[in-house]
């Protein structure tokens, strides 16, 4: 798709890191003096370096929790997680770039400033230097001209693009995307899925993508893990062997897509 232009940030570390999750359990104390609720019950997942894994499951199945566990933002009650061989939470934090469900853009910063935040924090850049280094990515990902727009001035899709560029700029080998397009209308979501596929083709990373949208999972992922309602377990895994690129209109109408979708929906109990 897009050819790689000259690298924007001194060769972002496009690492080759795999993710391995083994027998994870996670409990939450929902109410005081009540037994804790089991959110994740023995989840095991492996993601090869450079692979895109989608995790699909009903609301409340613990898929966002799983993402935060991989990112090192939460600690599991049992089981082990390794990202590129690193098992400690702090090391995992440094190996993963996390994109929260809502875009998390700061309303007092303009679009470029929001993306540059990643370089200020993760890279120790000064504000001005970070903006300078982030600017080329704006051109590459269809955001040129919107550098000084405030988040309130941007559409939902544009906000997600800025949030994704910020995630890329963190310069981590693993991207953890938590329902990135969940808040968008379905037309915009379709456009953004193709945009993300293009972005990942030009900036390959190991990706764990959480979604509740089966089409989104099949369009973007190499493999789909399907989770059960709480307590969350992986009930099925599907390999998505559809050729890339996968333009939405021509892909969703193929029999292969339909068959994969049927298997996924069946695993979801739909």
């Amino acid at each position: 798709m897009q050819t790689r232009l000259e690298s924007p940030v001194e060769e972002p570390l496009v690492g080759q890191a795999d993710v391995s999750v083994t027998g994870i359990e996670r409990r939450f104390v929902a109410r005081r003096r009540r037994p804790p609720v089991l959110a994740l019950d023995g989840v095991s997942i492996d993601v090869a370096a450079g692979e895109v894994l989608a995790i699909v499951g009903p609301s409340g199945c613990g898929k966002s929790t799983l993402l935060e566990l991989i990112a090192g933002l939460q600690a599991p009650d049992a089981g082990a997680i390794a990202v590129g061989g690193a098992v400690g939470a702090d090391e995992r934090l440094r190996a993963c770039a996390y994109m929260p469900q809502r875009d998390g853009l700061l309303p007092w910063r303009d679009a470029l400033g929001n993306a540059a935040l990643a370089l200020e924090c993760a890279g120790g850049f000064t504000r001005a230097r970070a903006r300078e280094a982030a600017a080329p990515l704006f051109e590459r990902f269809g955001l040129d001209g919107f550098e000084s727009a405030t988040p309130a001035e941007l559409s939902g899709g544009m906000r997600q693009r800025v949030a994704f560029v910020r995630t890329l700029l963190a310069g981590r080998p693993v991207l953890l995307l938590d329902e990135p397009f969940g808040a968008l209308d379905s037309l915009t979501r379709g456009q953004m899925q193709e945009w993300l596929a293009g972005a990942l083709a030009s900036e390959p990373r190991t990706v764990v993508l959480v979604t509740h949208d089966v089409d989104e999972a099949l369009l973007l992922a190499d493999r789909v893990a399907i989770m059960s309602p709480r307590p969350g377990r992986v009930v099925s895994e599907l390999r998505v062997d559809l050729p890339r690129p996968r333009p939405r209109r021509r892909t969703v109408t193929t029999p292969e897509f339909a068959s994969l979708k049927e298997q996924a929906l069946e695993a979801l109990g739909q």
Partner: protein, 253 residues
């Protein structure tokens, strides 16, 4: 359209003044009891040098006191926010500082600090400290958990998170506190002056009361109210300049 918003309050204000003038012009009250707006206006002009000298004293007390309370309040709020044990240890004391009846304490401050500027400054700072500190602290804590997770995942240090996310998020709350502080600061200064002073508007009003200089007492009250309203408006303007994003319809997302 913008002008229309001003018409109703101005009409209301003028009506209130006219009603006051009307009541004062009857013979229900004698002149020593109730001054009319015309008499107050006359006093504002003819006693201007005394009134504005006194206003100057009060303005200094209020501004120095406010400045101290904002500086101390911001430091306290940030320290309590960053260090949980301090929050738990100091919170009762903080609430206690607001529970102190200033009217009673003012004379004690005068005894402790003598007449002059500093006891009034101390009282202003005392009454303003609580709204500044509590509002800033609430603002610092109100950041969405997701935002904090994002900063952690970006590898931000505690200071970076405070500086780049928590403090800007807390600005609207801080300004809410400042608006309260701006109005109560004038009341604090007046309490201080009434407990013992040699100048200032609170002192002048008290004196005029005793000497039956009713129009000048009213003029003093008008200036005190104008001072409080002026400080409030200044804070509002500063808020608009400092937090433009709060008016864009979309709050923190």
């Amino acid at each position: 359209m913008r002008a229309a918003r001003w018409i109703a309050p101005v009409v209301m204000f003028v009506a209130a003044i006219l009603a006051w003038q009307g009541v004062a012009s009857t013979d229900w009250f004698d002149d020593l009891t109730l001054a009319s707006p015309a008499e107050v206006a006359d006093s504002l002009w003819s006693d201007r040098s005394l009134l504005f000298d006194s206003l100057g004293t009060t303005v200094i007390e209020v501004l120095v006191g406010l400045g101290i309370s904002v500086a101390l309040g911001a430091l306290t709020a940030i320290a309590m926010h960053l260090w949980r044990p301090l929050h738990e240890a100091a919170y009762p004391l903080l609430v206690g500082s607001q529970a102190i009846p200033v009217v009673i304490v003012a004379p004690l401050f005068i005894i402790a600090f003598d007449y002059g500027l500093w006891p009034k400054v101390a009282i202003v700072a005392l009454v303003c400290f609580f709204p500044v500190t509590v509002n800033l602290m609430d603002g610092l804590r109100s950041v969405a958990p997701e935002q904090l997770k994002l900063m952690r995942s970006l590898g931000a240090s505690r200071v970076q998170t405070l500086w780049k996310v928590e403090l800007p998020s807390a600005l609207p709350s801080l300004f809410s506190g400042l608006k309260i502080a701006a109005t109560v600061s004038v009341i604090g200064a007046v309490f201080g002056e009434m407990a013992g002073a040699e100048s200032g508007l609170g002192y002048l009003v008290l004196l005029d009361n005793h000497q039956l200089e009713t129009p000048r007492a009213y003029a003093g009250v008008v200036l005190l109210a104008a001072l409080a309203v002026g400080l409030f408006l200044l804070t509002t303007v500063a808020e608009r300049v400092a937090t433009p994003w709060t008016r864009e319809g979309d709050t923190t997302a």
